[in-house]
């Protein structure tokens, strides 16, 4: 049965879902069992998740035969019992077994359909950008016909510093706020009802079953007196805020994280609170329905259970989260288990909490946060993606289903519309929300350093939409216990519709109107991260000195405990935030350098000037040069002295080795004509001298003087700027705009793809370099080169590749000269050719590098690339690039060379750390570093290779050929 798989999936999803009420829906529709004993509840624990949705779905699509009630609850009924029930006589080739399979088909079809609906909205940009998605879904739901909500997903995304910073306020809002709303709405409604302002409520409340309805009619022929408990049950479910739509808008607009997490955290936690309140009230209603009197003691017990339910749930969740971390700690060899462990433990957390009659939702939140903190750091990238996608899939689908179902319920169910009740409820929910938010933030603000300002308070209050939670809870009301169920359902629907359409529809406008602080979209700088760390410690220290053990102190205490014990026990390896940020920055810089220039050219932003600028960037940054288009333009700028150009590199290259100052001067003279390039070259030289210096063997005072001089000349001034320029170009680019724009259906896709890209390139580069190395005869005779490199001598083998390339590239450059002036920005044939050259160069480089092998250390290597003369640089720049790149674009793995910074950052007189520097940069055999950085060299190089390929759209297999060709050429 193909649906069997689905059932597993669904069950898992359902388990993690909310909207649970510890009484089995089945029981409600069976008059036989009027009261649900606790024992029964516990025994049906595993079906709790089975949402009302399915029941209703079943109602929609089935005739209400006795069997359908079995089919409604597939988890309960075994397949065996089904086939026994069915009158299967003989063998069937084809048969219609709707009763058995129907429910699965319906559910599956429904899920798939909702997914399709989502896809549809995504493509209907015009609509979806104006109307919240949830509204669309409701609209669609009106036309056709589940209730799952994934808390785990929310809990995972709750793991954020801003959340923990605002935790006290969030807790106040969620717990006190919800309780306040609950009481206020409940009593106000009751008050209004008793003084008669609401109008009379007449029975019967419509039933789905005519027979039932008749019975009800008989029971309540007169006016119905609403009891306080009933009203409170209703109040408890209507006080749950569920701002899915608002959060989506917040993400899209990019409000500041404080506001976002205030609302997000509140809505999530108060789901739990509302469910607890609801259960409590429901129990009371049951007691009342049974004809007993609710004593004060029971109310007290109810309050006590409120605390235990919440705390117990949290405790179980945390325990489960810790267990997950422990499990994942041991799974480095069995990665497949990891997602299972995460989901399984999440589910277990939910179920276990429910087992003790504690809040499964709160348990799940706790579990999710702990998992995000520890277990996520243990699992592999792939597992992480799996988990993320799976969770995302479930939650997105559930969101769809909820709102679709909402729409269906709107048309389906028998409604009992009572205008007075609806109007009063809507106004009370609004009023109480505002009063609650303003009052509680006023209290919270007294303890907050960053106050929640009035505009934000307004948005928080206004964003308090009602949604899935309330609806699912109201659907679970037992009609036997609370007769006016239908009225409640209808009213809840009305409230939900009102808030979603009216409030949700206008909140975007209001956010813009009120000028809510936006989150800064720029990436955090590493210096900011460092400073944040310093400030945290500083403030903790100051707090202690001032004698107050406040939040900082507590935070630090927790952090220390975390760092000292928990992380050690629970995590396989740990990297600090600083480190992660650093790597992330390196990553984005890399991306910028990789794609930025082409983006600049492509979009042709501010015309020539920017082009020129980028041109310069590239000379400095090097890396971008590998892009064919860019290369073309760069070549063009070289063309003023064509005959010199090609050889020039070689010259400098050879001289660069033992370069005395005179030579440097000469170099500069040669370049005198073009200030741009002068900068570049001097800098390259400075790189070389820096290299020597850090190498420690050939330092010359004069060179270092020039070095610092040249760095003052401003080459480095630009480097930062350039990355910024590139970055902003990237951001402005229309293509990127589309793809990087907020899209909550994507999860770290770029990151993933980047990684696999790099891996592919890495592999490619390795292949190429081994290929190149297999030709030992291509040894060159560049003594000076060997000299210059000293220990690097093996790489001289390949250096003789370069002259040819230089010459060739010169030709090409002349050819592609026209490119710059050409009207179109597309890559002309010439440029492509140039690119091919470039690729070859990169190949030679890669082989070069691989020849250096592990012996070489990253630092000298990168500076050596920058320094090895310009010919090398022509390739190095074109390809690997180089100083600029290497420095702000450091190793993805963390061990960065920063060749450019090294030389120029260390002023001429030796500084204490120089020893360190020199050591770290010159000691060739540092195993860990070598291993770590070696692949990176390849990666970068090969990235170039592939990049050029991509751009030129040339077939892949040509990559290998040029090398051979080239090598042969050199041989001859």
């Amino acid at each position: 049965m193909p649906s069997g798989e689905w059932i597993i999936v669904l069950l898992l999803g359902i388990g993690v879902c909310m909207g649970s009420h510890p009484s089995d829906p089945l029981v409600q529709s069976q008059p036989a069992s009027e009261k649900v004993s606790k024992l029964e509840r516990e025994s049906t624990v595993s079906h709790y998740g089975l949402p009302v949705a399915f029941q209703t779905l079943a109602e929609v699509h089935h005739n209400r035969s006795k069997r359908s009630s079995v089919a409604r609850h597939p988890a309960r009924s075994t397949n065996g019992s089904h086939s026994n029930d069915d009158e299967h006589i003989g063998v069937h080739v084809v048969s219609w077994r709707w009763d058995e399979v129907g429910i699965y088909v319906t559910i599956t079809g429904f899920v798939v359909l909702s997914g399709l609906a989502k896809v549809g909205f995504h493509h209907l940009h015009v609509i979806s950008s104006r109307v919240p998605e949830s509204c669309l879904l409701v609209i669609v739901g009106l036309a056709m016909g589940g209730i799952i909500k994934i808390i785990l997903e929310a809990a995972y995304s709750l793991y954020d510093k801003a959340f923990f910073d605002n935790l006290p306020t969030i807790l106040v809002m969620a717990v006190v706020g919800t309780a306040f709303n609950f009481l206020l709405i409940g009593f106000l409604l009751y008050l209004v009802f008793t003084i008669g302002a609401m109008g009379k409520i007449r029975g019967p409340f419509g039933g789905d079953d005519p027979v039932e309805a008749k019975a009800l009619m008989a029971m309540f022929s007169g006016n119905y007196e609403l009891g306080i408990v009933e009203v409170l049950v209703f109040a408890s479910l209507i006080s749950a805020v569920d701002p899915v739509a608002v959060l989506a808008i917040f993400q899209e607009v990019g409000v500041n994280p404080d506001l976002y997490f205030l609302l997000f955290g509140e809505s999530l936690l108060n789901d739990g609170v509302a469910v607890v309140l609801y259960n409590m009230m429901n129990t009371m209603a049951e007691i009342e329905a049974a004809g007993e009197v609710i004593t004060l003691g029971q109310i007290g017990l109810g309050l006590a259970s409120f605390v235990t339910v919440a705390c117990g749930g949290l405790l179980i969740g945390i325990i489960m989260g810790v267990l997950t971390a422990l499990i994942t700690r041991t799974t480095s060899e069995v990665r497949v288990v990891e997602p299972l462990a995460l989901f399984g433990m999440g589910y277990l957390a939910y179920v276990t909490a429910e087992l003790f009659h504690w809040s499964g939702i709160i348990s799940l939140i706790g579990c999710g946060i702990v998992q995000a903190h520890y277990a996520f750091k243990n699992i592999s990238k792939k597992s992480y993606t799996t988990v993320k996608y799976f969770i995302k899939m479930l939650s997105a689908t559930s969101d769809c289903i909820i709102f679709l179902f909402l729409g269906i319920a709107l048309v389906e169910g028998p409604h009992y519309w009572h205008t007075g009740f609806v109007v009063w409820t809507i106004s009370f929910t609004l009023i109480c929300r505002f009063v609650g938010v303003y009052g509680l933030t006023f209290l919270a603000n007294r303890r907050r350093i960053r106050k929640v300002n009035l505009q934000e308070q307004f948005i928080m209050a206004y964003g308090g939409l009602r949604g899935a939670v309330g609806f699912s809870l109201v659907e679970m009301i037992n009609k036997e216990v609370i007769p006016p169920k239908q009225m409640f359902v209808t009213t809840t629907l009305a409230v939900v519709m009102f808030t979603i359409f009216i409030q949700g529809g206008t909140i975007k406008f209001l956010v813009n109107l009120l000028e809510i602080d936006k989150a800064s979209d720029d990436q955090k700088k590493i210096s900011e991260e460092v400073n944040d760390n310093v400030m945290e410690h500083l403030m903790a220290g100051i707090e202690i000195i001032s004698g107050r053990r406040g939040s900082q102190y507590l935070g630090q205490l927790l952090e220390r405990f975390d760092e000292k014990y928990l992380k050690r026990w629970l995590c396989r390896q740990w990297e600090s935030d600083l480190q992660r940020l650093f790597e992330e920055l390196a990553y984005t810089d890399h991306l910028c350098n990789l794609y930025g220039p082409s983006v600049v050219l492509e979009s042709g932003v501010p015309g020539n000037s920017l082009l020129r600028h980028t041109d310069e960037d590239m000379d400095i940054n090097g890396d971008p040069m590998m892009l064919p288009t860019v290369m073309g333009s760069r070549r063009a700028s070289f063309s003023p002295y064509p005959p010199h150009g090609g050889n020039f590199y070689d010259d400098t290259y050879q001289r660069g080795a033992d370069m005395p100052e005179g030579d440097q001067m000469e170099t500069r003279l040669v370049n005198g004509g073009q200030p741009q390039h002068k900068i570049v070259r001097t800098r390259t030289i400075s790189g070389s001298s820096g290299f020597f210096r850090s190498d420690g063997s050939r330092m010359s005072g004069r060179i270092s003087r020039i070095d610092s001089e040249s760095s003052h000349r401003g080459s480095r001034n630009n480097s930062r700027l350039e990355v910024d320029t590139l970055r902003s170009a990237m951001r402005k680019n229309s293509f990127n705009k589309i793809h990087q724009k907020y899209n909550r259906n994507l999860i770290h896709d770029d990151e993933q793809e980047m990684e696999s890209h790099l891996q592919k390139r890495h592999a490619n580069a390795r292949r190429l370099s081994t290929l190149a190395m297999m030709n030992p005869s291509i040894s060159g005779t560049h003594e000076s080169h060997v000299d210059s490199h000293g220990f690097l001598s093996p790489d001289s083998e390949h250096s003789n590749l370069l002259p040819t390339i230089g010459l060739r590239s010169r030709n090409t450059s002349i050819g592609s000269n026209s490119f710059n002036d050409g009207p179109s920005n597309r890559v002309p044939g010439r440029a492509r050719e140039a690119m091919m050259q470039n690729r070859m160069r990169s190949i030679s480089m890669s082989s070069d590098r691989s020849a250096l092998g592990v012996v070489d250390d990253p630092k000298p290597r990168s500076s050596h690339i920058s320094h090895q003369g310009l010919d090398r640089t022509s390739s190095a720049r074109g390809v690997l690039g180089a100083p600029g790149l290497a420095s702000h674009q450091p190793n993805v793995m963390g061990a960065i060379a920063a060749p450019e910074t090294n030389p120029s950052s260390v002023p001429p007189p030796p500084l204490p750390s120089r020893g360190n520097l020199a050591r770290s940069s010159s000691v060739p055999t540092r195993p860990s570093m070598g291993q770590l950085t070696m692949p990176r060299g390849h990666t970068e190089l090969s990235s170039v290779v592939e990049e050029s390929e991509d751009k030129a759209k040339s077939p892949k297999n040509t990559v290998g050929l040029p090398v051979k060709e080239n090598i042969k050429n050199t041989k001859l």
Partner: protein, 223 residues
């Protein structure tokens, strides 16, 4: 708390003076005074480095030393600025140490009296929006304080070595030295506008432009 004895020793006019200078309320000053007295174990009337470092949480704070150092350096500087007596709110207490500060300019002051203590803490009062500028708790002053956490040699520049030292203190155990070096380099590179490979205070301010320093460097003092 249990220090009613010591709070009795703080004269009313002193409180008024300190309050005027630092912006603390009288209640807060009394609280701080009781804290000060409890730190001052031998009732010397001033605090030494040892007094500070006796606080266990401070001893394990990675920046504990520097924070304590800031108290001493800050108070010295301020006394220099004030010329030893101008508006010195607590004459008899300040007399000895103030003289100490002005005579031995280069010497580190060895003790911190209550005024110094409060003055340093005043940096961390939350900033109210419509309060006049250039108070001790202004953005600039807060940043200055943070800056001094790095600037150990007091030359108003953060060098790579200084930065590295701070980094090592904070995350030393988790990250290899090489990585720390590269992080330090990058940090400097980001901030360094004039390319001297040092971060000046202006550059420092510049970097933290987006950071909500007023919030991050404020604590609530008890009333």
């Amino acid at each position: 708390m249990g220090n009613s004895r010591s709070s009795l020793q703080l004269p009313e006019e002193d409180i008024a003076n300190i309050s005027k200078e630092t912006g603390f309320t009288a209640n807060q000053i009394e609280r701080l005074w009781s804290r000060f007295s409890s730190l001052d174990k031998q009732q010397k009337g001033h605090l030494t480095r040892e007094d500070f470092l006796r606080i266990p949480e401070l001893a394990i704070n990675p920046l504990g030393d520097r924070i304590v150092h800031a108290f001493f350096r800050d108070s010295r500087q301020q006394q220099q600025n004030m010329g030893g007596g101008v508006g010195s709110p607590d004459p008899e207490r300040n007399g000895s140490s103030g003289g100490n500060g002005s005579t031995a300019d280069d010497m580190e002051q060895e003790v911190v009296n209550f005024c110094d203590f409060v003055r340093v803490l005043a940096h961390f009062r939350p900033l109210k929006k419509n309060v006049e500028k250039n108070k001790l708790n202004g953005r600039e002053e807060k940043l200055r304080f943070a800056f001094r956490m790095y600037d150990l040699d007091g030359d108003d520049k953060i060098s790579k070595e200084e930065l590295l030292a701070v980094l090592t203190m904070m995350v030393g155990a988790n990250i290899s030295e090489d990585q720390l070096i590269s992080i330090a380099e990058r940090t400097i590179m980001e901030a360094d506008l004039d390319k001297d490979n040092l971060i000046s205070f202006d550059e420092f301010k510049n970097v933290l432009e987006r950071t909500d320093v007023e919030q991050k460097m404020s604590i609530r003092f008890l009333d």
